[in-house]
């Protein structure tokens, strides 16, 4: 299965056409990490935006497990968009295949594809709500 095909199955990219997905797949690289390898490092500048195409990752802070991430999940968006350094590590739990979009290119992509920006915003809001104790 090509990267474009995989992206087409993920909720984040559900509004994009096949040609638009191919453009994204060909414009950005995929990267594969060994189990145990760190992908995002707390406190380090220049982090990218990662979309998990296959495999599992863990969000960790000082060795403490905070959350599990799987196919279709994404991470690194906060530091990629704000320029702030990540506040936690992301570590591959299994062999982890990701699409990698550097910060400046993520910005351009979201401006070019507002449907994608809206999806990302919705998913981000859900995450935020899930982390808040207060419930409506």
């Amino acid at each position: 299965m090509t990267i474009a095909d995989t992206l087409g199955q993920l909720a984040l990219f559900a509004d994009l056409s096949g040609a638009q997905l191919e453009a994204i797949a060909h414009t950005h690289d995929e990267d594969v990490f060994a189990a145990g390898e760190r992908v995002l490092r707390k406190g380090l500048s220049g982090g990218n935006f990662y979309v998990i195409l296959d495999g599992e990752a863990a969000v960790e802070l000082n060795g403490q497990h905070l959350a599990k991430l799987g196919r279709g999940d994404f991470f690194g968006e906060v530091s990629a968009l704000t320029g702030d350094t990540p506040t936690a590590d992301v570590v591959a739990v299994t062999i982890l295949r990701c699409l990698v979009i550097p910060g400046p290119q993520l910005e351009r992509l979201l401006l070019d594809r507002p449907q994608l920006a809206l999806r990302l915003l919705r998913m981000e809001v859900r995450r935020l709500r899930a982390t808040l104790e207060w419930q409506p």
Binding site: D29, A34, R38, G43, L44
Partner: protein, 491 residues
């Protein structure tokens, strides 16, 4: 008649290197210097690897400057000469500039091939030529077995240095009818013909530039837009920007378009190509005489995927750890062009220079040291560093390893027995993640605007902190301001 005795008969070795191009030879040279017992196998009958055949249009894209402000035998000269292999002996260093006719500061293919052959000969590097790796298995004890035309080789580590040289075609219906880049040797065959090139990276633009004086029209098409702001500053600019420049200025007959190619149909002697825009909405059809698939190459990994080797880039490149070992098949290492399968931190999207000799010659040296430690417990000498500030600033200013492999390799100084020692060149990702004593890692990074930033990572009690130094117009970080800043960081 007795057979001529060949080097490296089949059997057990600590390591086996496959390939006799620059990656394989550099790895073997470094392993030999460290005393690692290894065999080198090649299906070719002489050294040179891909440079015996490529690039097709005969000119490299990496510079060698025969004259420089530093001595050719110095380490600093490596930054001026991106094409020679690395050696300790002065007579083996900087061989490519001695062969150049200076028509360009980019060597020709033949000059590069000559430099590699000369290195193999002068260094007396042994290779078992015309010995082809055919299949692979894993023993119960984890050792890899290479089945070759000459017999079986067994080792705990196999370094595959086979390049990224097997023609690869994108999965486009009908593209199988097209010629591949490797079949385009004679540009005159495109005289007065309409040509569609599938692909807009190195080989696509190389072909386009090569046939510009011949073809009636040339269209380059692929989904990814040409990144002119990056290319204008890249070593590829000569080839990329020439056809692109004609298109951008409205020159007739040359087109560079962002499309996904839906299918290619044969129409008698001609081709019909159906495309759809990726950065624009709409469809276009083309009728042309020739289609050239310039969709790149893959590493010839043979049966390794059956043993669990995981790949990236549509199956073209093995996925590697920071020390260039397969992420999924222990003991399988890659040198040479395939070492690009380790992307490193990729900060701000920056990649290492591992797909060219200038970068992968350093990867090979670091890999050889890693294997010497893993296989033989061979610890590198750790010379004391008395003046840490001067040492780090000098490395940041002149170290060719850091300047070529920006953000991938770093120079490490570690604390030991009340002082500091030189811990050599290491992958940055390893330095950041492996833990260890308090230490400093110096590397050269690039910010989002392309500005070069010397960067120091400090490891204290296991915690990593990052310090970026200010840029300098001459990239000289040895002045008082830098000394003061780094003294504060080191203290």
């Amino acid at each position: 008649m007795a057979a001529v005795e060949q080097a490296f008969p089949p059997g057990d070795y600590d390591a086996v290197v496959v390939g006799s191009g620059p990656g394989g030879l550099q790895t073997s040279y470094c392993l030999r210097a460290l005393g690692v017992r290894h065999a080198v196998l090649s299906r070719d009958d002489c050294p040179g690897g891909m440079f015996r055949r490529f690039p097709i249009f005969q000119r490299l894209i990496t510079w060698t400057k025969p004259d420089a402000p530093v001595e050719r035998s110095s380490r600093e000269y490596e930054w001026y000469d991106h094409n020679s292999l690395l050696a300790d002996e002065p007579e083996l260093k900087a061989l490519v500039p001695t062969l150049m006719d200076r028509a360009f500061d980019l060597p020709s293919r033949a000059e590069m091939e000559g430099g590699i052959a000369s290195f193999a000969e002068k260094a007396k590097l042994e290779v078992r030529y015309e010995c082809e790796w055919e299949s692979t298995r894993v023993e119960d004890d984890g050792r890899l077995v290479l089945v070759t035309t000459d017999g079986e080789y067994r080792a705990r580590a196999v370094v595959f240095a086979l390049g990224v040289t097997e023609p690869w075609r994108a999965d486009v219906p009908g593209l199988e009818h097209a010629a591949h880049y490797v079949d385009t040797r004679d540009p005159a065959r495109y005289e007065d013909r309409d040509v569609f090139v599938v692909g807009k990276r190195n080989s696509g633009f190389e072909v386009a530039q090569g046939i510009l004086p011949w073809a009636r029209s040339i269209t380059l098409g692929s989904p990814r837009p040409v990144q002119t702001e990056t290319l204008a500053l890249s070593a590829l600019r000569m080839r990329y920007l020439h056809p692109y420049d004609e298109y951008a200025r409205g020159g007739p007959g040359t087109y560079v378009i962002d499309v996904t190619i839906e299918r290619i149909e044969r129409d008698g002697q001609r081709f019909r190509i159906f495309t759809r825009g990726t950065t624009w909405d709409g469809q276009l059809e083309f009728d042309v005489d020739d289609v050239i698939a310039a969709t790149g190459f893959r590493t010839p990994v043979r049966d390794l995927p059956d043993l669990g080797l995981v790949t990236v880039a549509d199956g073209r490149i093995p996925a590697l750890t920071p020390f260039w070992e397969s992420v999924s098949l222990p003991g399988a290492y890659f040198a040479g062009n395939a070492s690009q399968g380790a992307r490193g931190l990729g900060k701000r999207g920056a990649g290492a220079s591992s797909s060219a000799v200038n970068g992968f010659r350093y990867n090979a040296r670091v890999l050889a040291q890693h294997l010497a430690e893993q296989l033989n417990g061979h610890e590198p000498p750790r010379e004391p560093v008395d003046d840490v500030v001067s040492f780090l600033l000098r490395e940041l200013s002149v170290a060719p390893e850091l300047w070529v492999q920006k953000g991938y390799l770093c120079r490490v100084v570690s604390s030991a027995e009340g002082g500091y020692v030189d811990d050599g060149v290491q992958p940055v990702a390893h330095f950041l993640d492996a833990g260890g004593p308090d230490a400093f890692g110096a590397t050269v990074e690039v910010d989002r605007d392309g500005t070069i930033l010397p960067t120091l990572y400090v490891r204290r009690r296991g915690e990593i902190r990052e310090h970026q130094l200010a840029p300098h117009p001459l990239h000289d970080y040895q002045g008082d301001g830098y000394r003061h800043q780094v003294a504060g960081i080191v203290a």
